[in-house]
């Protein structure tokens, strides 16, 4: 699928096939990729975290406010960037805890809780800055998002691919990862078997929040500024990448490798469309249709795979 789209773009617009643009695709995919990883932890446990893009926006903004050297809108605290990053990750973790509190303790549906948090934290972002943009960020703060090794390989790309590898390892080879599958597949069975269902779910949401904060740091670095609508509307692509990659929205099924392909596919589509000679008014329509095609194709192959497995038993 990824190959088909890539080839299609190359045929229509040969200029896309350059190392520079491919690196560009990877770099633009890094934020989406980091959010997707957090979402997959929640999805495997049979939950959703719709709030991650707002967590990203909020933590990035507060982080930029804390670290900005601009006296007009910065906090003036002049905290070391490392401390700020730790505070951002802590905020992400705290938002994850808050989500879990409503979902696990009060047993409110995760969809509604995180949808409300999506709205609320985007709102807090507006209020916090009076809709100002934060810039004048110190070099060591923006390094992760903007530095490229040899001017070619961005650190953010290494980070995002590395995170996929590590999280796939966690899913396959740690009891935390395996327990998530059990919880998403059959929560009652998981509980009866002695799995600490609530604690595992809490961890998944905390990871999702922290990854969002990490994404915020990377994105702030890349743009060297934080606007109030940072990553707004990304949740749609996060879901699309997960589903294209074979993660079940019902929980218990999926991995990290498939969605990595989904992330790259979406990055390819976005970048491809931006260099194509088509009206910008068409971009969203084409993107939506292409994503739909991708999801349908994935489902069709899955149906055939199920039939094949059933016939061999």
């Amino acid at each position: 699928m990824l190959a088909v789209v890539t080839i299609a773009f190359i045929i229509v617009e040969p200029r896309i096939f350059s190392v520079r643009i491919l690196i560009n695709v990877l770099e633009h995919s890094s934020i989406l990729g980091i959010l997707v990883i957090g979402m997959i932890f929640c999805l495997l446990a049979g939950r959703f975290d719709l709030s991650s893009e707002s967590t990203l926006g909020f933590t990035a903004l507060v982080g930029a406010w804390m670290v900005s050297t601009n006296v007009n809108f910065g906090s003036g605290w002049l905290l070391p960037p490392l401390v700020v990053v730790i505070l951002m990750l802590a905020m992400g973790a705290a938002i994850g805890c808050l989500n879990s509190f409503f979902i696990i303790k009060l047993r409110v549906n995760a969809f509604i809780v995180t949808l409300a948090m999506l709205l609320a934290f985007r709102g807090f972002t507006y209020v916090f800055t009076d809709a100002n943009t934060m810039y004048d960020l110190p070099g060591s703060f923006i390094g992760l998002g903007s530095y490229s090794i040899g001017g070619l390989l961005p650190l953010s790309v290494i980070l995002f691919v590395g995170l996929f590898v590590v999280s796939q390892f966690v899913l396959s080879y740690t009891s935390f990862g395996r327990d998530l599958y059990a919880i998403g597949g059959n929560p009652d069975a998981a509980f009866a078997a002695g799995i600490r269902v609530d604690r595992r779910t809490l961890t998944a949401f905390i990871l999702s929040g922290m990854l969002a904060a990490l994404g915020g740091w990377v994105l702030a670095g890349r743009l060297q500024a934080v606007t109030i609508n940072l990553a707004q509307g990304m949740v749609f692509e996060v879901f699309a990448a997960a589903v294209i990659g074979g993660v079940s929205l019902a929980g218990g099924k999926g991995n990290m490798i498939g969605p990595l392909g989904g992330v790259l596919l979406l990055g390819m589509i976005t970048t491809g469309l931006s260099v194509m000679p088509i009206s910008s008014l068409w971009v969203d329509a084409v993107r939506g249709v292409l994503i739909l095609v991708a999801v349908v194709l994935w489902r069709v192959t899955e149906i055939y795979e199920e039939r094949w497995r059933a016939s061999t038993l």
Binding site: S175, G194, G252
Partner: protein, 255 residues
């Protein structure tokens, strides 16, 4: 074995693995279980029968730590127990095979066997290969030679699923196992297999509590049969000395 089956628990052998005294549970104003006392022994199968709502499931859930009792005492090997979670009861060697079997269809056989207790090496990494081998060994012991430990459980038949659930109990040095309707909805040859597996457990020294609606099956498999009616114990009988008619009368509370 003389005297095993009598209604007065004080005369039962001291070696009882599980002793339950005056166990009661109510949910709000509904009495689910009222003053139930009984014992279960190693190397024995105890049949547990009663109509729907008689309190069988509540009894199992109280002992396995899913619910907390309102009154009564539970002793396992002469130690008083009051589990807060199923995890604690499993750690003490109590296994429950629920009617819906508590398996995860999305996972493979070996992983269901080790569900909640994955074997890990010193670095916290799970030992997949070792668990697959152990699972294969267990399945063989239960006579499920054709079943591969790497098959996804969702593709198994009902009888094979029971086998997976039972093999779990075999591995974990289980002392006491509750089986809630293990033969329900199975094909005839699968029922025979499950009953054989119960026999394997019994010979291995496990105390089996066997819940079933099929009285013929219970009388043929169990050493003793205890009967609940509307949350109360109406009798414990030696399986060889009772009849279906008597059990039915106890079930209806008319004995």
């Amino acid at each position: 074995m003389a005297g095993e089956h009598t209604l007065t628990p004080t005369t039962e052998a001291k070696s009882a693995l599980l002793r339950v005294r005056g166990l009661s549970k109510h949910f709000d104003h509904v009495v689910a279980l009222s003053d139930v006392s009984f014992e279960a022994h190693s190397h024995q199968v105890l049949g547990l029968v009663g109509d729907n709502g008689a309190g069988k499931s509540t009894l199992i859930k109280l002992i396995s730590g899913v619910h907390r009792a309102n009154a009564g005492e539970i002793y396992l090997a002469d130690q008083q127990i009051a589990f807060e979670t199923p995890r604690e009861s499993r750690d003490a060697g109590i296994e429950v095979i629920y009617q819906d079997m508590a398996l995860v269809n999305e996972l493979e056989v070996w992983e269901n066997v080790f569900l909640g207790r994955l074997l890990r090496n010193n670095f916290g990494i799970i030992q997949r290969k070792r668990m697959i081998e152990e699972a294969a060994h267990l399945l063989e012991r239960l006579g499920l030679h054709a079943l591969s430990p790497t098959t996804q459980v969702g593709y198994l038949s009902g009888g094979q699923k029971k086998g997976v659930a039972i093999s779990r109990a075999l591995y974990w040095d289980t002392r006491l196992i509750f089986m809630d309707e293990p033969t329900a909805a199975l094909a005839v040859f699968e029922i025979r297999k499950v009953l054989e597996q119960i026999e394997t457990l019994r010979q291995g020294g496990v105390a089996v509590v066997f819940v079933s609606h099929n009285l013929k099956e219970v009388l043929a498999t169990a050493d003793r049969v205890m009967v609940l009616h509307r949350g109360q114990l109406t009798g414990i009988r030696n399986a060889k000395e009772t009849s279906e008619d008597e059990i039915i009368r106890l079930m209806m509370g008319t004995a």
